[in-house]
Symmetry: C2
Subunit: 193 residues, 2 copies
DNA sequence: AAAAGAATATGATAAATATCATATGGGACG
DNA sequence: CGTCCCATATGATATTTATCATATTCTTTT
């Protein structure tokens, strides 16, 4: 059934990528099949290759999309904060219970980080670009923005955020999860450096 | 071919678990098949279920083994350090180029962290236990050992270590990898809190 | 309103994979 | 020295999965 052909091919492509960006964060690169994504997008698996050259090409687009969403959401959160509190708001959102429990709409580095080294070059390239953007977002919100060492500081801040969230999700003990998020938040908030 | 039956079943079980502990850190939980592990252990896939009730049971044993190796290696590194420098040595080893490039004999949290939330309960339970042990190793090496907040400090240190290594491995740019490791090392070394 | 064209569904194929049943060969013990 | 047992290999099955070829239906155009 040709379904609704008024939804142009481009729009369907869009929808698949958007869906995939969510599904990979929920199920991982390796845990996501082409059929899974198509089903969740309301399509059947056969049509997939009318939209993408390969599964990997599609993962690359999905990874890029997930990264772009994270960057723009972070930018918005920081922009909505009162002056001087951009980083604070960012940290509070990132290290929140809500982010902990909703990987599919959250940071793709936390959701997919340890699978990245095994992905296709196109996937890693897209992810790296978005990670650099994310680090810049953090750097611009830091109190020491412009000073020497500010970029290094942003690198460490990003690492702590990602590590705390990954560990909090990995662990089977909600007390420890909370403690990890709280420890990271409290140690990053008072501009420790 | 009964192969060498003098190697008791127990020893073979041991060898499979040991092999699996390496393979999962290299290929991920989802990227590792039963046949992969058996082949790398020098066996054929068919015999697997004489040793484990299921693939998941085996992953649980492998995760536990990998965690145990990491804890004992870390303990040894810290013990070999001059007095007051245990944490320093730990950090230098963890955030080294060598660790970056050898996930299969390194920290399982960095290698498998983002896949953990989807693993079987037995796997997560084992991993959580080892993670707690790892945090204790770090806490005992900290200069503020015993003081209030020392445990929280260890949580944040662990998060930063894990996050920096995961990001450094994820990224497709060796300059950024180095910068991430260096930033984490320099900011954790001078006992920032 | 019918024909053409584009988008998607159906169906098929080949490879991988978890799991299980049975065969085989080497060592222990009589 | 021959028999039995146990660990492992062989082989099979059912499922999943990536990929592709073909059929079907919707929309547009005349």
């Amino acid at each position: 059934m040709g379904r609704t052909a008024n939804q142009s091919k481009e729009a369907t492509h869009e929808r698949i990528v958007e869906t995939a960006a969510r599904v990979i964060r929920r199920s991982g690169y390796g845990g996501t099949s082409v059929a899974d994504i198509m089903k969740e997008a309301g399509l059947t698996h056969g049509g997939f290759y009318a939209h993408f050259a390969s599964r990997e090409a599609m993962l690359a687009e999905a990874a890029d999309r997930a990264g772009a969403e994270a960057v723009s959401l972070s930018t918005r959160v920081a922009a909505d904060a009162p002056p001087e509190q951009g980083l604070d708001w960012l940290l509070r959102a990132y290290l929140s219970e809500e982010h902990l429990k909703n990987p599919e709409i959250g940071c793709p580095v936390a959701a997919l980080g340890s699978e990245m080294p095994r992905q296709a070059p196109e996937v890693r390239r897209a992810a790296t670009r978005r990670i650099k953007e994310m680090i810049d977002v953090i750097a611009r919100q830091s109190p020491d923005w412009g000073q020497p060492g500010a970029h290094e500081n942003a690198l460490m801040t990003a690492a702590t955020m990602v590590g705390a969230l990954i560990m909090a999700r990995a662990v089977d003990d909600s007390k420890l999860s909370d403690a990890l998020l709280k420890a990271a938040l409290e140690h990053l908030t008072p501009a420790c450096a």
